[in-house]
Subunit: 168 residues, 2 copies
């Protein structure tokens, strides 16, 4: 997308732009999740990050599939939102001097990324349907469902164990 | 918070750090929402942004109240996540060359901000309860409820009207 031109002229352009944005975001998460798994102390949390990393690889592949189904070039555009979310996760984690508290901070950081994705996939699915691309919407829906499951698992883990340990 | 020291030693420190983070985020949204209202074309969307601006002023006041209840200094720390979300909203909006498509992009941007807040307030409430601060949790819950209502309103508006217009 050009910096000084208005390249998004139609809903279809917006859909493709958003695909490029979330494609970048998923690829950044592929890099960030192993680091988060390394930092996590609780074995269940560590495993949770690694499981979600495997899912995220699949999410990247699904996006490539949707680009192709829609006849668009597989391409990423910068996504300052996910960069900001990851930067903040790193900064906060770097300031925590207690392993149990760090686990609580890591869950919170991961949930910020999950919710970012939940919003973007939600819009992409609605836009795909509006554009008559129910086939693309169906592929994107699989990922959205997995992001929502991951978010709920993180909440359960935080409220069932991690927060209690962090506060003790 | 120091750049080279690990200042978050307890769950209480993490709670206060997160309060400072969301305090910054709410104040940035007070600046961003009038610009989003200016850019919106649909009168209902424009009014929605202005109504949420009024609510956001109250959210800032509630955070100041929670800082005081908890005996912590009212203070903001930089929040790269909300900066990234707002930057991305500005960049994308700047590339859209159609008013109806811009409305769809603006809703998507606003929902990214809402979900960021939903995650952070969710964690703050869970942490406050863990710390025995049900009084703080109750104040924060009021804001979380409003953020969720706003998010749902935006989805209804997008799916009921804005997306259809943008695709036509």
């Amino acid at each position: 997308m050009g910096l000084f031109t208005k390249d998004i002229k139609t809903m279809d352009d917006l859909f493709v732009h958003q695909l490029q944005d979330i494609y970048y975001a998923e690829k950044q998460l592929v890099k960030a999740l192993p680091k988060m798994a390394d930092k996590a102390t609780d074995p269940q949390l560590k495993q949770g990050f690694l499981t979600h990393l495997e899912e995220t690889h699949v999410h990247v592949q699904r996006l490539e599939q949707v680009f192709k189904m829609h006849g668009a070039e597989v391409k990423a555009v910068n996504c300052p939102a996910i960069d900001g979310i990851i930067k903040e996760a790193d900064e906060t984690a770097g300031e925590v001097d207690d392993k149990a508290v760090l686990d609580a901070a890591l869950i919170n950081a991961a949930q910020a990324a999950e919710h970012y994705e939940i919003v973007r996939y939600g819009s992409l699915i609605a836009w795909a349907r509006q554009l008559g691309r129910n086939d693309c919407a169906a592929v994107l829906q699989k990922t959205l469902d997995e992001e929502k499951v991951t978010d709920k698992k993180l909440t359960s883990l935080a409220e069932g164990k991690i927060n209690m340990r962090a506060a003790s």
